[in-house]
């Protein structure tokens, strides 16, 4: 995915920041264990968030491990947990098919990096897909649907967003049957819708210049890639509405120790990111955040 779903760590106490880092590290170790070394490089905050949601409120036991980012000092991280396994498998499946899509969307030279990524992930993907055949099927089906909508230059916001949202919603379907599955399905659907639309807004200018498909151009007639006040307002509303629906789903389950992180992400973090993307400050902050993360990983 794209890294838009991020808890506002600066607003959280150190204890909660640590807890989030443990999940992040735990997912990284799980990816390597289940899907091989290259799979570690797809790790991001979105997938960590997914793992936390899938845990349904349990905190996996912690253990101490060394890793590339911290070769000398052992750090505590989440140990093995079915939710981490599931999130790792699903992340690899999604990343693999997105890379494959990148190959077919680009010419030979530009497609090289996607080809490389797909190749590196292939071994891990095979294992993950064997473990989660249904999620693999839905991902492929919906990405095909998305490609079809892009080809026909669909002027609908909801249709392409739905294709992506269905993939995330399917991530919940591997969970045990019951209220949690229904809650996660709805929550992840709107998270997926939000991620897709936020990404479209983030790429709007670039796509308008390059001629790549972007639903916002066709839905609001923004051929020059600049928002009009009306289109921006309408878009903000539909984006906010998804977050609110996501929040109503979130409130129906007790996520235990993850509550402070999830609550801050749902009620503050997503809006901050959405606002930054729409005002154009998100891209400017991207490189700064990368630096932050490096610091974070090496401390």
């Amino acid at each position: 995915m794209f890294g838009y779903v991020r808890p506002p760590l600066d607003l959280l106490p150190t204890e909660e920041q640590e807890r989030f880092r443990r999940a992040y590290c735990g997912l990284c170790h799980t990816l390597r264990r289940r899907c091989g070394l290259p799979a570690r490089f797809i790790l991001n905050y979105d997938f960590t968030f997914l793992a936390i949601l899938l845990s349904g409120g349990e905190e996996p036991e912690t253990r101490c491990e060394r890793c590339v980012a911290s070769p000398l000092k052992k750090r505590t991280c989440c140990g093995e947990h079915p939710a981490l396994d599931l999130a790792a498998d699903e992340s690899v499946i999604l990343a693999y098919w997105q890379a494959r899509d990148g190959v077919s969307d680009h010419g030979f030279w530009k497609g090289l990096k996607y080809r490389g990524a797909a190749l590196a992930l292939r071994g891990g993907y095979r294992k993950a897909a064997a473990a989660r055949p249904e999620f693999d099927r839905v991902t492929r089906e919906q990405l095909d649907r998305l490609a079809e909508l892009e080809r026909e230059k669909s002027s609908s916001l909801d249709a392409p967003a739905d294709a992506f949202a269905q993939i995330l919603a399917a991530a919940a379907d591997e969970a045990e049957d019951g209220p949690l599955r229904r809650i996660l399905h709805q929550l992840l659907y709107h998270l997926g819708r939000w991620v897709y639309l936020t990404d479209a807004a983030d790429d709007l200018k670039e796509d308008a210049l390059s001629g790549n498909y972007n639903p916002l151009i066709y839905r609001y007639g923004l051929t020059d890639g600049a928002w009009t006040p009306e289109s921006r307002e309408a878009f903000t509303k539909t984006l906010d509405h998804s977050v609110r629906l996501l929040a109503t789903a979130y409130e129906l389950w007790d996520f235990g120790c993850w509550t402070p992180i999830l609550e801050k992400t749902v009620y503050t973090g997503l809006f901050q990111v959405g606002k930054a993307v729409l005002s154009g400050t998100y891209r400017a902050g991207k490189s700064a955040r990368k630096k932050d993360r490096k610091v974070e990983e090496t401390t």
């Binding site: 609908s156 916001l157 909801d158 249709a159 739905d162 949202a165 209220p179 229904r182 809650i183 709805q186 659907y189 709107h190 819708r193 839905r219 309408a234 903000t236 509303k237 539909t238 984006l239 906010d240 509405h241 998804s242 977050v243 609110r244 629906l245 929040a247 109503t248 789903a249 409130e251 129906l252 609550e263 009620y267 503050t268 809006f271 959405g274 606002k275 729409l278």
Partner: protein, 216 residues
């Protein structure tokens, strides 16, 4: 039943006022208006029942005299009874002009969206109600942008219809009435939480489901 104090999230030593505050906060969170046409409305309803029962139990244990009369069983707010949604029974809800559209309403209510869609696809007269119901199906599916457009068309075709107008207003407020811990939330934050709450109440009182703040 679970420990009522645990359900309300307060210690047993909490004062009556604290219990009531916790109860109101939870009731605001799981209020039916926050789950209007939401596929998880039934789960919210269960939560609401649990909270009402817990509050009643605590009030009973503490003796009805102490809790300023709020302990009567009817004091719970946010009952789901009565025609909530697009059902035939809602007193303020318009009943359909055609039996097919009536069936669509029932299908939407029961969550059978595929059936609702099939019925709508075979209905040739794309009148105001047809557009409204298409919007309702889209909304349930999470197709919020298209839902708004159908509600808008319905309102344009029949400007006097309260049901259509309310649905459109709800979309235009982008679900602002929804619960959030800090009051108003969103990219275009309401500067004034009081106003948000007022809007919430307005929507709540005029949705014709017989819901309201009772004995509070």
């Amino acid at each position: 039943m679970n420990d009522p104090y645990q359900v309300l999230g307060v210690p047993e030593s909490a004062s009556d006022a604290e219990v009531k505050k916790a109860y109101l906060e939870l009731a605001r969170k799981y209020h039916p208006d926050n789950y209007h046409d939401n596929p998880l409305a039934d789960l919210a309803q269960e939560k609401m029942k649990e909270i009402n029962a817990a509050y009643e139990e605590v009030s009973k244990r503490r003796g009805s005299g102490r809790s300023s009369g709020a302990s009567r069983s009817s004091s719970g707010y946010g009952g789901y009874s009565g025609g909530y949604g697009y059902g035939a029974g809602g007193s303020a809800r318009q009943s359909s002009q055609s039996s097919v559209l009536q069936q669509v309403r029932m299908a939407v209510n029961s969550g059978d969206l595929s059936r609702a869609e099939a019925l709508l696809a075979n209905y040739a007269d794309h009148n105001a109600e047809w557009n409204f119901l298409r919007g309702a199906v889209c909304y349930r599916r999470g197709w919020l942008d298209e839902a708004r457009r159908y509600y808008e068309t319905a309102t344009r075709m029949d400007p006097g219809n309260r049901e259509y107008r309310q649905a459109l207003e709800f979309m235009d407020n982008a679900g602002t009435s929804a619960y959030s811990p800090q009051g108003g939330f969103g990219m275009e934050q309401c500067g004034n939480a009081g106003l948000c709450q007022q809007l919430c109440c307005t929507y709540l009182l005029c949705n014709g489901c017989g819901l309201g703040f009772r004995c509070l």
